[in-house]
């Protein structure tokens, strides 16, 4: 019985000794794993290697490549074009925004902490821009956010992992709406639908005392309107599932 215990203890010690000799990185310890892979991450995202990765099969690469080829801003943000598959891989700069430098106001600090807690633990430029859009921020907080955005941009870490947004097709085009209209004078606005087959165009003007006369022929619709009062009106046009809105400016001076 006693020899069994001795044998068991000896076996455990042997196993521990074997693991110890294998060195860091080979054990199942998460701490060891992190310490070996971290430099690799930094290399991956840090510099020129990113360009070749960017030409992989990620969605949106055509637009990104064209932009990079044109040379605009690509040098300023070397890691901006990042394949989707790499989104989860971050540099060591991905830490709390509050971890360095002067903190912002307590209110903004709280907002950032909440954002960081609800996400992966850090927030990028996109969220900072969204924060900037809060109308009730103080000037000093805005300045603080701008410095952080600038810093992220300088690190090439501007949270632009997504594909660059392409231009969008405009299924309804409107001409004659940008020039000023005059009270009592008839104005003609032309509305054209394009793309897939769409229904005839319907238009109305919000806030107008009199609605326009709308007539369609083929894919072109004429909106004839004689405004009665000066002001800024909204022209609404719809064709099938599509909608387009324009500002119409009416003045009394001709």
């Amino acid at each position: 019985m006693r020899s069994t215990y001795v044998f068991t203890i000896a076996a455990i010690l042997a196993v521990l000794a074997t693991e110890s000799n294998a060195g860091p990185g080979s054990s199942s310890s998460s701490g060891s794993r992190a310490s070996t892979s971290a430099p690799t991450r930094g290399t991956t995202l840090g510099g020129t290697g990113v360009g070749s990765r960017a030409s992989s099969t990620a969605p949106g690469r055509d637009a990104a490549s064209a932009r990079s080829g044109a040379g605009n801003r690509s040098a300023a943000r070397p890691s901006a074009v990042r394949p989707y598959g790499q989104q989860g891989v971050r540099t060591s700069s991905r830490r709390s925004l509050l971890s360095a430098g002067t903190p912002p106001s307590p209110r903004l600090t709280q907002i950032i902490r909440e954002r960081e807690r609800s996400g992966p633990g850090w927030i990028g430029a996109a969220v900072l821009v969204a924060l900037m859009s809060q109308h009730d921020l103080s000037a000093s907080d805005r300045s603080w956010i701008q410095r952080k955005i600038d810093a992220l941009g300088a690190q090439g870490d501007g949270d632009t992992a997504e594909a660059l947004l392409p231009a969008v097709q405009q299924p309804i085009s409107i001409s004659g709406a940008s020039q000023p209209l005059y009270i009592g004078q008839s104005a003609a606005i032309s509305v054209t639908s394009s793309g897939k087959a769409v229904d005839s165009v319907a238009c109305d003007i919000e806030g107008a005392d009199t609605q326009p006369v709308v007539s369609s022929r083929d894919r072109t619709t004429s909106v004839i309107w004689t405004p009665e009062h000066a002001g800024a009106y909204i022209l609404n046009c719809r064709a099938g599932d599509h909608a387009e809105r324009r500002i119409l400016r009416v003045t009394s001076n001709n």
Partner: protein, 241 residues
């Protein structure tokens, strides 16, 4: 020594209250007179302003609310301002919703929190022609109310319309607020379009915002937004259309 302490405490109390009994009586007489004047005024906004002016003139110490006459003055303010709102008076709405005009006086807070006040304001903004800077300011704040959705139903289209009309009415900052609206909706093309329109007197949130938006767009999308920004009738690019 004890008497000296009492005297000091008494002096401090008088200083805190802000007036001696005789001074208090004089103030009450003046307030009473102005309340009577306001009651005779036909324009409720003017009556509101009369009461507001005398309150701000006399009630400097901040202890006015304890006195029944000051309470009456506050009630009159609410009554007159509510009547002005019902008349659709733009200046009354401005007193409530435009920070430069309004304030945080209890009477204003009370009217603002009354059911239907905000919807009246938004309906009023719908009807505004948008031909003057004052109207542009009201449209701007109407847009912000609908954009935030804190006290009104959040409606991006309606908010964009208000902001576009504010911009057309000559309010430069409406462009920046419109940009914020689209950023909140993750619509970076239209956010960029409106950010481009934030020029001259428009107070942009920061060059970093414009740069970051631009970095998210392809060259074609940038050109498209830049062209659209030049056409002053365009409110937004149809995304996903």
């Amino acid at each position: 020594m004890e008497a000296k302490k009492i005297a000091l405490a008494l002096a401090a109390s008088i200083a805190l209250i802000g007036c001696e009994p005789a001074e208090q009586a004089k103030k009450e007489n003046m307030l009473s007179s102005e309340l009577a004047t306001a009651a005779k005024q036909k324009d409720p906004l003017q009556a509101f302003q009369t009461v507001q002016a005398v309150k701000s003139k006399l009630c400097m110490s901040g202890n006015c609310n304890d006195n029944p006459m000051w309470v009456k003055a506050g009630e009159d303010e609410v009554k007159y301002l509510t009547a002005a709102i019902k008349q659709g008076n733009s200046k009354a709405f401005a007193a409530l919703y435009v920070p430069a005009h309004g304030n945080s006086a209890p009477s204003i807070e009370q009217v603002r929190s009354q059911p239907g006040t905000l919807s009246s304001f938004l309906a009023h903004a719908d009807r505004l022609a948008g031909t003057t800077p004052d109207e542009g300011l009201l449209l701007l704040y109407a847009g912000m109310m609908v954009m935030e959705g804190k006290h009104a139903v959040k409606d991006t289209t309606r908010a964009a319309n208000f902001l576009a009309r504010a911009w057309a009415a000559g309010n430069p900052n409406a462009a920046n607020i419109a940009s914020r609206l689209y950023i909140k909706n993750n619509d970076y093309r239209n956010a960029y379009l409106w950010s481009l329109r934030c020029t001259d007197k428009c107070e942009r949130d920061g060059q970093a915002v414009l740069d970051t938006l631009q970095q998210r767009l392809s060259p074609e999308a940038i050109k498209q937004a830049e062209r659209a920004a030049q056409d002053t009738s365009i409110i937004e690019l149809a995304i996903g259309g």
